[in-house]
C-alpha cells in the first residue's frame, strides 16, 4: 500500500516537473488598463527614455515629487542593468500605503525580468487608479541579488590596487638601485 502511494507521489512530482512552467503557475489577475500602464512604462524604459517616463506618473505622484525624484536613482540603476531579454508577469498585489505618498489604493505589479547583466531580477511597478484615465505609475523599482557582482568587484578591485602598487614598488626599487649604482660609480672613480 505504502509503496503504491510513494510511487504515485513520485510520478505526480515528475509529471509536475515535466509540465511547462506557465501551465501550473496561474496567471495573476491584472486589469487591462493597469497592464497597459505597465507596458507603456516598460516600453519607455526599454527604449532608454528614462527621463521621459516621468510623464507616465500619476497626477498624485507629480504633486509630491519632482522629475528628479522619479529618474534620479532610476537612471544610474537601470542603465547598469543592460537590455531586457525577457519579462514575465508573476504577481499582482494590493497595497494601501506607499512611502512618500498619501494612503490610498495602490496596485503592486511584479514582473520577473531577464536583464542582460542581471538575469534574475524583479521589476516592481506600483500603480494608482486615476479616475477616468486608467492607471498612473507611482513607483518603479528593480530588485536583484547584488552580492555576486559586489563580491567580484571587491575581489578584483583589491587585486588590481595591490597588483599595480606592488608593480610600481618593484619598478621604482629597481630604478632606484640602478641610479644609486650609477651615481656611486663616478664618486668611487673620483676617490680612486
Amino acid at each position: 500500500m505504502w509503496k503504491r502511494i510513494v510511487l504515485i507521489a513520485v510520478l505526480a512530482g515528475l509529471l509536475a516537473l515535466m509540465m511547462p512552467h506557465q501551465a501550473w503557475a496561474q496567471g495573476p489577475e491584472l486589469p487591462d488598463q493597469a497592464n497597459q500602464a505597465c507596458q507603456r512604462l516598460f516600453k519607455m524604459l526599454d527604449a532608454g527614455q528614462l527621463k521621459e517616463s516621468y510623464t507616465l506618473t500619476s497626477p498624485e505622484y507629480k504633486k509630491v515629487n519632482k522629475p528628479d525624484d522619479w529618474f534620479g536613482g532610476l537612471l544610474s540603476e537601470r542603465e547598469s542593468m543592460g537590455p531586457v531579454k525577457a519579462r514575465r508577469l508573476v504577481r499582482v498585489e494590493k497595497a494601501e500605503t506607499l512611502e512618500g505618498l498619501p494612503p490610498g489604493s495602490y496596485l503592486k505589479v511584479v514582473h520577473v525580468t531577464q536583464f542582460e547583466r542581471y538575469p534574475e531580477s524583479e521589476e516592481i511597478v506600483f500603480l494608482a487608479e486615476v479616475p477616468g484615465q486608467g492607471y498612473g505609475v507611482v513607483k518603479y523599482k528593480i530588485e536583484y541579488d547584488r552580492w555576486p557582482e559586489a563580491i567580484k568587484i571587491i575581489a578584483n578591485g583589491l587585486f588590481i590596487v595591490f597588483f599595480i602598487m606592488c608593480l610600481l614598488a618593484l619598478i621604482t626599487w629597481v630604478i632606484g638601485k640602478v641610479m644609486q649604482q650609477r651615481d656611486a660609480k663616478p664618486a668611487a672613480d673620483k676617490k680612486g
Binding site: 540603476e77 542603465e79 547598469s80 568587484i153 571587491i154 590596487v161 599595480i164 602598487m165 621604482t172 641610479m179
Partner: protein, 381 residues
C-alpha cells in the same frame, strides 16, 4: 507690497531649505572659526547657502530653449564642471600633481604597499553600502570616500551616481578635516605604546632628479595601460608632477600649483555646495552615506596600520607601524598625525618624511581604485 515675490514665504513653505541654509552657515563657521579645511569647506558652505536661498535661479542649468541669461551661475558650474564634462576634479588633480613631491615614496618603495592597504576601507564600505540597499554604482561612490581623496570622490560619483555627489564630496572633505579626530584613536587601539615609540632614522636616501622625472612617466604608462579609465585622474596627476619635476616649465608648474588650482577650487567647491539642495540631501540615505564614509575612512586607517605592523615584523630595520595610517590619501594631514603621535611616544622620532611616502602613495591608490570602478562600468559610458 514691493511688487515682487520675496523668498520668505517660500522658505516658510520649505523648511528643508532653511535647514540646509543653517548647515551651510555651519560649514562657513567651521571653516572660519575652527579653520577646518577652510579652502574647501568655506566655498562649499557658501554654495549650500546660495543654492538653498529660494527663488534665486542660481542653480538653473543651461538647457536648450532657455531664454538668454536665465541659467544660473551655479547651474552652469554644475552642468559643465561636474555633471556633463566633469573637468573640474581632473584639473584639481593636475594641480595636486604639481604640488606633490613623490620623493619620499621613490626613496622607500615599500610605501606603495601601505598606500594600497589603506584602500581596504573603500571596499569595506562598498560592501556596507550594498548591504544597506544602495545600488552598485552608488556603493562604488560611497566606498570611494574611504580613499580620503576629494577629487577622486567627486569624479567617480559625478560619473556613477551624480545624485549623491554633493553628499559624498562633502563627507570626503569633512572627514579629511577631521583626520586629527578620527585617526588617533584607531592608531592607539591597534598599536602598543612600545610600537608607537619605535625609532626610525629621520633621513631617507636622496632621490635623484632623473628618478623624479622618470616616476610620473612610467607610473602613468603602467597604470593607464592596466586601467584605462583611470587616465583622467592618474594621467593629469602625473602630468602635473612631470611639469614640476622636469624643471623646464617653471611658469606652467607654478600656475598649476597656484592660480589654476585656486580658480578650480573655487568653482569646484561652490559647485559641490550647490549640488546639495534640501530635497536631495535631507533624507535617511544621507545619514547612511555619512556613516559609511566614516567607516570607510576608519577601516582604511586600520588597514594601513595593520599592514604597517606586518611590515614592522618583517623589516630588518626598526619600522614604526603607525606609518601605515598615512596611507589614506589625506595629504599631508595623515602624515602630520603620524609625526605628532610618533613624537608623543618618543621625542627623538621624526616620522614625517617616512609617513609622506604612504601618504602620496594613497593618492595614487585611491585614483586607481576609482579608476577601477569607472572601468568596471566603462562600457556603459
Amino acid at each position: 507690497m514691493l511688487g515682487i515675490r520675496t523668498g520668505f514665504g517660500e522658505l516658510a513653505q520649505n523648511p528643508g531649505q532653511l535647514i540646509m541654509i543653517v548647515v551651510g552657515l555651519g560649514f562657513i563657521y567651521l571653516a572660519i572659526k575652527k579653520e577646518w579645511e577652510p579652502y574647501e569647506l568655506l566655498p562649499i558652505g557658501a554654495g549650500m547657502l546660495l543654492a538653498n536661498l529660494p527663488l534665486t535661479g542660481l542653480t538653473t542649468p543651461p538647457a536648450p530653449g532657455l531664454a538668454p541669461g536665465m541659467a544660473g551661475i551655479l547651474g552652469i558650474i554644475l552642468k559643465y564642471g561636474l555633471y556633463t564634462w566633469t573637468i573640474l576634479p581632473q584639473f584639481i588633480f593636475f594641480g595636486i600633481g604639481a604640488l606633490t613631491d613623490f620623493g619620499p615614496l621613490i626613496a622607500n618603495p615599500r610605501s606603495f604597499i601601505l598606500g594600497a592597504a589603506a584602500q581596504i576601507g573603500i571596499y569595506t564600505s562598498f560592501a556596507g553600502a550594498i548591504y544597506l540597499g544602495f545600488n552598485i554604482k552608488e556603493a562604488c561612490s560611497i566606498g570611494i570616500i574611504g580613499g580620503a581623496d576629494g577629487p577622486t570622490t567627486i569624479y567617480t560619483t559625478g560619473l556613477l551616481a551624480p545624485d549623491i555627489m554633493g553628499i559624498t564630496a562633502t563627507a570626503a572633505y569633512s572627514y579629511m578635516a577631521m583626520v586629527a579626530i578620527i585617526q588617533p584613536p584607531i592608531i592607539k587601539l591597534l598599536t602598543s605604546q612600545k610600537e608607537r615609540a619605535i625609532y626610525m632614522k629621520p633621513m631617507l636616501r636622496k632621490v635623484s632628479k632623473t628618478e623624479k622625472i622618470l616616476f610620473p612617466i612610467y607610473a602613468t604608462i603602467i597604470i593607464i595601460l592596466l586601467i584605462p579609465k583611470s587616465a583622467p585622474l592618474v594621467g593629469l596627476l602625473l602630468l602635473g608632477n612631470l611639469f614640476r619635476e622636469s624643471g623646464v616649465v617653471e611658469r606652467l608648474s607654478n600656475t598649476a600649483q597656484n592660480e589654476l588650482i585656486n580658480i578650480i577650487t573655487i568653482l569646484l567647491m561652490l559647485g559641490i555646495g550647490a549640488s546639495m539642495p534640501a530635497d536631495k540631501v535631507l533624507n535617511p540615505r544621507t545619514l547612511m552615506v555619512l556613516f559609511l564614509g566614516l567607516a570607510a575612512f576608519a577601516i582604511g586607517t586600520a588597514g594601513g596600520v595593520l599592514l604597517g605592523k606586518v611590515m614592522s615584523w618583517l623589516s630588518k630595520e626598526p619600522y614604526n607601524p603607525m606609518i601605515g595610517a598615512a596611507g589614506v590619501s589625506a595629504v599631508p594631514m595623515s602624515a602630520r598625525i603620524v609625526q605628532h603621535m610618533g613624537q608623543q611616544a618618543n621625542k627623538r622620532n621624526h616620522l614625517l618624511m617616512h609617513a609622506m611616502g604612504p601618504n602620496v602613495a594613497g593618492v595614487i591608490g585611491s585614483a586607481v581604485a576609482g579608476g577601477y570602478f569607472l572601468s568596471y562600468f566603462g562600457k556603459l559610458f
